[in-house]
Amino acid sequence: MLSTALVGLIAVLGVSGSAQAQADLGVHGTLENQQDEPIAGAEITVTDASGSEIATATSGEDGTWQVPLEAEGTYTVTLDESTLPDGLLVRNGRPQLEVEVVDSDRTVLFPLDTQLAPGVTPQDPAEDPTGTTEEPAEEATPDTEADADAEADAAPELEGEGGATRAVSLLFSGLHFGLMIALAAVGLSMVFGTTGLTNFAHGDLVTFGGVMALLVNVIIGLPVWAAVIGAVVAGALFGWIQDWGLWGPLRRKGTGLITMMIISIGVAMLIRFATLFFVGGERRLYTQYVGQDPWDFGWLVITPKEVYTGLFALAVCIAVGLGLVYTRLGKATRAVADNPSLAESTGIDVNQVIRLVWTIGGALAALSGVFLSINDGVKFDMGQHLLLLVFASVVLGGLGTAFGAFVGSIIIGVFVQMSTLVISPELKYVGALAVLIVIMLTRPQGILGRRERIG
């Protein structure tokens, strides 16, 4: 995201730095958010190689800060993320930069955004190749070289070992993202399978989960693990209530599927605007696990929260899969998805099964919402954007099949993250949506779907 803009910004600042202060030794920079508005009041601390603090600077009204230095050498510049305005963080996950200062005023920039750059896993500063060239204009600030976006777009010479590590990291973050999509997709696909409804509000059930966890964590003040449980319970309840109060009665009334589809868009809007009303438009973070030190395996750098949420999501998906295959209720669900009338005639209570599907779907979507929010924070439109990827996954896997949805999600998740190796990260969703359209052209029934469904 914004990689070109960022590079441009650095070039400009570099030039102005060279014009301004050749003689003075020091570090300086400008803090700007993603709309290029200056950030005032953020604290930046500079420590020397031995770890002793030299000075703390606070960014001014125009976002600039500077720390004069007395000697050449290697310094660590740390941006205190907690002094940034709510919701902002350093996009490449590196609020701490090691800079080598050689007889000039050195520019240090922190790319700020409301979320971590997709696919970026924070890296160990020690590994970072620091620029040591003496000409400030060419002296790339360390963060550009580490910044995943810039690396992909502008620095092909960094391919090779760094590229491979990045690819592995992207693969893992893709798997993680895929599992998050899968949690939402399984529910969407099961609802479609049993009722035929394409639920456009499913993405907002994901937001709902994130918001409920925010309520438990930030308003009530319980730890995040309690918030996860709270959100899942609330999500399940919300799914149950939706089917009990809205979709069930509509089915009994014999409302057409297209009408129901449009109603679901209305429901999506209701949830989204209610969220906007209560939570506001900015990104909100939980109180725990916001900035986490990553594990560095050399070939892979990953944050513990990603590992744990990913494994948990995988376990849940496997449990749902086993439940569908081996339990009575699971078999009943598949029977209803296959042929509702036939299922009913064998004594299965179809409406009971559909209500269960809605409940589980709501719970899974909420879980996905919390896990995504632990990484990126809660925003009112997060589910809306996820929904399209969920659709892509569900269609890729085969509309109406739970297992297809899982497979499709993993593929789409990995594809979205890996595609940032070649295309600009801001266009990664476009790639996934284009895949959706290509599948429609070539194999509309998806990987695991059956031809007859598409009639």
Binding site: T198, L257, G266, M269, V395, S424, V430, I437, L441
Partner: protein, 347 residues
Amino acid sequence: MDWHFVFSQALTQAIGPTMLVYALGAIGLNLQFGYTGLLNFGQAAFAAAGAYGLALGVVAFDLPFWLSILIGLGAAMVLALLLGIPTLRLRADYLAIVTIAAAEIVRRLARSTVWAEWTGGSDGMRGFSETFFELSPFPKDATWSLGFVSMENGRLTVDLWLVDFQYSNRDLWIMTVGWILVAIFLVILRLLVHSPWGRILRGIREDEEALRSLGKNVFAYKMQALVIGGLIGAVAGFVFALSRANVQPDTFTTDLTFYFYVVLILGGAARLFGPLLGAAIFWFLYNLLSQTLNQAVRADLIPDAMLSTTQIGPLVFFLLGLGMVLLLIYRPQGILGNKRELMLDVR
């Protein structure tokens, strides 16, 4: 509270430029959804194609205004073909998913920084509307009054004592063109849907198989409906872009499409005047609610702790969304609609 102001604003807007955008977008949708049963959830993308075609043509490529209009129409047509070819043979909900995805692709491409030097990224573009406003026959400095109608420095005021209507010079020209376009499209649509071609469209909506057994090329008819509806959507995009004198990618979200649906269903789908009536009522209610709430908050009738001014927008859209859901449940045919005409189903 200044009820005179609230109602004047709401009524002024109810026949104003923005309402015309909704009306035009919904007229296009009416052909696709109301008459043919195509679930196009990407009408915002057609509007974006028109608006961006026009803006890119004038600003980025320095082309004449009218050629840029043609580019906008061409872009909408290409979009319709791209969407229609893969999905029109499939079941209705596939078209819905693909169009909603395509609309998102268009928006994300438009706000991407990759070609921001041409499209302006998320800031969009401006400076393409001069030619259009130069054509305006309304003099900018006219000052006269005639009974209850008066013009002051180009600003028209129609004072009906209970309420008054006020339009700026630019609004007047946009509205003149917009209402003429609405009238033209309504006439065209009327002729189309009462022709044999229109009857086939309605036949497709009711029973595709029956039409196929009569030897009709259902795919071709659906495609024609999609293209024509999309072109009308592009015209809505033109009016939208010109009335605001800028284009911004984030105004073309799925929400815009949904408001087109609200307008269409409120007025009555598959009814000629449904979109027009729906747009007027929708935009009247929107303005009435937001102005009332705004005034109430300012006059401290509603305490600040309960509702702040930034929350009014979401609250109004929440209420309109709720109204929409209730309307679909209890009166899916809308105000003018005929219930028998809208027994749509995909299975």
